[in-house]
């Protein structure tokens, strides 16, 4: 059973209550509770539930963005107090909007979901040059590269990025998403996975990583 305070933290995120997330995070520290557990069982759990509500059509992007604000407000307080060696990252992911495209709201939501699930995220931002993804993946040793595009022209950068990532590290997992993409186009581009929502991106990454490790 999660600590009652962690449950309240989760509710604060789900209810988009940034002030409550801050207050409760401070209370976690005041009471000497474990910061890492508060993040995973509290803040991250709330964000995960928000993602589920989005997938079910109860929440929309405005709600998700405000949930994310509450999540990050709590993370800012709790993260510095994670004990060394305690945080177990699920993995490292390099993420970005591909060259020629500045539409980053979807990418930012995917980033939030990865962070909420305990991934170490390297965000390259938007309009990212083709070669930067492979360079960053190599630099940080990421197991996943996540690409976003909103335009039929910018999505044409994806096969080139995938080729450059895979040629440098054939074991790297590449996910793609964005309005013009589909599972068929993703497969045609050589991507390992496609996701239509932020939450599904994390689930897909987790499943692919688990399959590649087994």
């Amino acid at each position: 059973m999660p600590h009652a305070l962690f449950k309240k933290l989760s509710e604060a995120v789900l209810k988009m209550d940034e002030e409550a997330a801050v207050e409760l995070s401070r209370k976690v520290l005041d009471e000497g509770l474990d910061a890492y557990s508060a993040i995973i069982e509290g803040l991250a759990e709330g964000m995960s539930q928000a993602g589920t509500l989005y997938d079910g059509g109860e929440y929309y992007v405005p709600e998700l963005l405000l949930c994310a604000d509450a999540l990050y407000a709590g993370l800012d307080i709790l993260r510095p107090h994670i004990k060394t060696g305690e945080a177990k990252f699920r993995g490292k992911v390099v993420i970005g909007v591909v060259e020629g495209d500045v539409h980053d709201i979807g990418k930012n939501l995917v980033k939030t979901m990865f962070e909420a699930e305990g991934w170490e995220v390297y965000d390259l931002g938007k309009d990212v040059k083709v070669e930067r993804f492979s360079q960053e993946q190599q630099r940080v040793g990421a197991c996943v590269v996540a690409l976003s595009a909103l335009m039929t022209t910018s999505m044409l950068a994806m096969p080139k990025i995938i080729e450059s990532v895979k040629s440098a590290d054939p074991g790297a997992i590449v996910l793609v998403g964005g309005a013009p993409l589909s599972p068929e186009i993703a497969a045609g581009y050589g991507a390992d996975g496609y996701a239509d929502t932020a939450k599904n991106a994390v689930v897909t990454a987790r499943n692919l990583l688990s399959a590649s490790n087994s």
Partner: protein, 355 residues
């Protein structure tokens, strides 16, 4: 290969369609902007920056593919440069259209200080006006000018992220910005009516930011519906008879609300690929339905995939009680394979005849 000979000119076909009279075959509109530029050897930016080049590229492409003579321009960031933000023109291998570099509204204070720009000279407005003039001078019977997306205009002013948060946190401020956007677009439409006339000009509203992957139908009902309804009503009062509305993206849950808005006489309802044409016809039985080939399929599908998708659209669209125009569900991909585009026209020749 020769297609069957048209029995109507494009002008006759469009005029008949908009008057509710029979036409010889299904018309096609390319919803092409950057595609026109690349097709004739220009850069994409040339289409948007230079109205004369833009109309020339559209005219040549329309003639090449036998599309309907109704050039179209859509400057997505409209609102940002006119109110003091900045944009960048498309350049490089992957950019598709002008994009916003800096939004004019970064804070609540900025939103309160917004002032109406000079409608004759600000930002993109001279380009829109010149595109319409050149289009008419080139002999096109109609021209689609994207003047009037409202929620998108507010997103252009303050960014979609801030807009989404303000929808919940500061609804009064969003109403204020919607008011400004509506007045701004009405002023542009009045200016174009005065300079160009309303006979051949069709205002085009494209609302990608109201899609249900972003906002709820409830948000649409509160913030978009009343202003769009008012806007359309005033457009018709100004003398615009036909109004085109591109319901962009996944908006199935918004369709009942869109159908409450006065759409023109007739309206043109441009349907995205996420919505079934039969549903769109049901909601808009008196309007011209336009759509809804998947742009990514035109870009990445095989010629046979595209031909088959066009056949399905044509067979559904021919049942539209208010008339039908085959078109992509959103902008024609600028780098669409020409053979795929030709296959769309072949599908019209094979399945699109009414007589």
């Amino acid at each position: 290969m020769q297609f069957k000979k048209d029995e109507m000119t494009s002008e006759e076909r469009l005029t008949a369609l908009f008057a509710g009279r029979p036409v010889d075959r299904v018309p096609f509109h390319g919803l092409a902007t950057g595609f026109n530029a690349i097709n004739v050897g220009y850069r994409i930016a040339d289409f948007y920056r230079d109205a004369e080049m833009g109309v020339r590229a559209a005219t040549w492409t329309i003639a090449q593919y036998n599309w309907e003579k109704m050039p179209h321009i859509f400057l997505g960031p409209l609102g940002a440069p006119e109110f003091g933000g900045s944009i960048r023109w498309p350049s490089g291998e992957y950019a598709q259209a002008p994009q916003i570099e800096r939004h004019p509204v970064q804070s609540e204070e900025d939103a309160m200080k917004l002032e109406m720009p000079d409608i004759r000279t600000a930002g993109f407005i001279p380009i829109l006006r010149d595109f319409a003039k050149h289009s008419i001078d080139a002999g096109h019977p109609y021209c689609l000018i994207a003047t009037d997306e409202l929620f998108l205009c507010v997103a252009n002013l303050c960014s979609i992220d801030i807009l989404c948060k303000w929808v919940i946190k500061k609804p009064d401020l969003v109403h204020r910005l919607m008011r400004i956007a509506t007045d701004f677009k009405l002023a542009i439409s009045a200016h174009l009516a005065e300079e160009i006339g309303t006979d051949r000009l069709i205002p085009w509203l494209g609302e990608p930011t109201t899609e249900n992957r972003l906002i709820s139908p409830k948000t649409f009902e509160e913030f978009v519906l009343p202003y769009t309804d008012e806007y359309h009503e005033k457009l018709i009062e100004m003398g615009y008879r036909i109004v085109a509305t591109h319901i962009c993206g996944e908006q199935n849950a918004n369709y009942p609300l869109w159908s409450k808005i006065r759409m023109g006489e007739p309206g043109i309802i441009s349907v995205s690929q996420e919505v079934d044409l039969e549903d769109a016809i049901r909601y808009f039985p008196n309007d011209v339905i336009m759509g809804n080939l998947t742009p990514a399929l035109i870009q990445s599908g095989t010629p046979n995939d595209v031909y088959e998708a066009a056949r399905v659209c044509i067979e559904k669209g021919k049942k539209a009680t208010g008339g039908f125009i085959l078109a992509p569900g959103c902008e024609m991909p600028p780098k669409a394979p020409p053979y795929n585009v030709w296959m769309i026209m072949k599908a019209i020749d094979d399945f699109g005849w009414y007589v």
